[in-house]
Amino acid sequence: MDAVIVKDRSAVGARRRPLIPNAVLGMLIFIVTEAMFFAGLISALTIVRSSAMGGLWPPPGQPRLPVGQTAFNTAALLVSGLLLLFAAWRFRREARSARWPLLASVLLGLTFVALQGVEWVALLKEGLTLTSGAHGGFFYLIIGMHAAHAVAALVALAVCLARLMRGTLEGAFFGAAQAFWYFVVAVWPVLYLRVYF
């Protein structure tokens, strides 16, 4: 059953058609809940940072986060989002022509996740762990949850790519996957500015 429907004014009966595909609407509702989840984490981090001893954050003796390296990762993620916008534009005109921008978007997303993983390994070697203090705890929780969302969205985009290759990709499914990836891309600069600086 369609979740959001509109009556066609021209119809004598009750012909109805969806305003937006159910898959996209469901994803939008999911994104609203996820945005609140990240807002809660950011709010908690802000309060903990404000009560840090001497106003110093990260606390003395804790490793500094690699701001420069992560700026490169951020650029890769933002370009990935722009490429997905381009892929969606191409998909509306001629579906198969969206293959290359979609593939490039997925590859850049994978690059972001892989580089974040490399960064984590280096931080773990420096002694920043989930239990080493509030700094490590918040870092791995917030950035880790974002990475989990990124991986899930990349799986959805990879499924889109496979279906596109077979010629079976539906606009609704692609729309939902796009919305999820745009959320992952859009929330990242907020997390980057709040957690790394």
């Binding site: 509109v6 609203v32 609140m36 709010s43 903990v48 404000s50 009560s51």
Partner: protein
């Protein structure tokens, strides 16, 4: 509902009320530092306004889509009427 079950319910409710102790929901929020108070207020504002903003945004988007569909329907009806030869 049987009298025994009702008594059990009342006993449980009384037990919860009498045996529980006060809990601080957020011990971090109890600081008297000015920066901490500002952060607490900022967090409260964010968590209050963000869901309202998102829901209003979703409603505006759906309303815009509805109007677009109405315009498309009107255009389709007009085109059909022009294409149909008059008797």
């Amino acid at each position: 509902m049987s009298a025994a079950r009702e008594a059990l319910r009342r006993g449980l409710a009384a037990g919860v009320l009498l045996l529980s102790s006060a809990a601080s929901a957020c011990p971090m929020c109890m600081s008297t530092q000015e920066s901490n108070r500002a952060a607490y207020i900022a967090g409260s504002l964010l968590l209050t306004l963000l869901p309202l903003g998102m829901l209003i945004g979703l409603a505006v988007y759906l309303r815009r889509r509805m109007r677009e569909q109405e315009r498309e329907d009107d255009a389709a009806r007009t085109a059909t009427a022009r294409a149909t030869p008059s008797p």
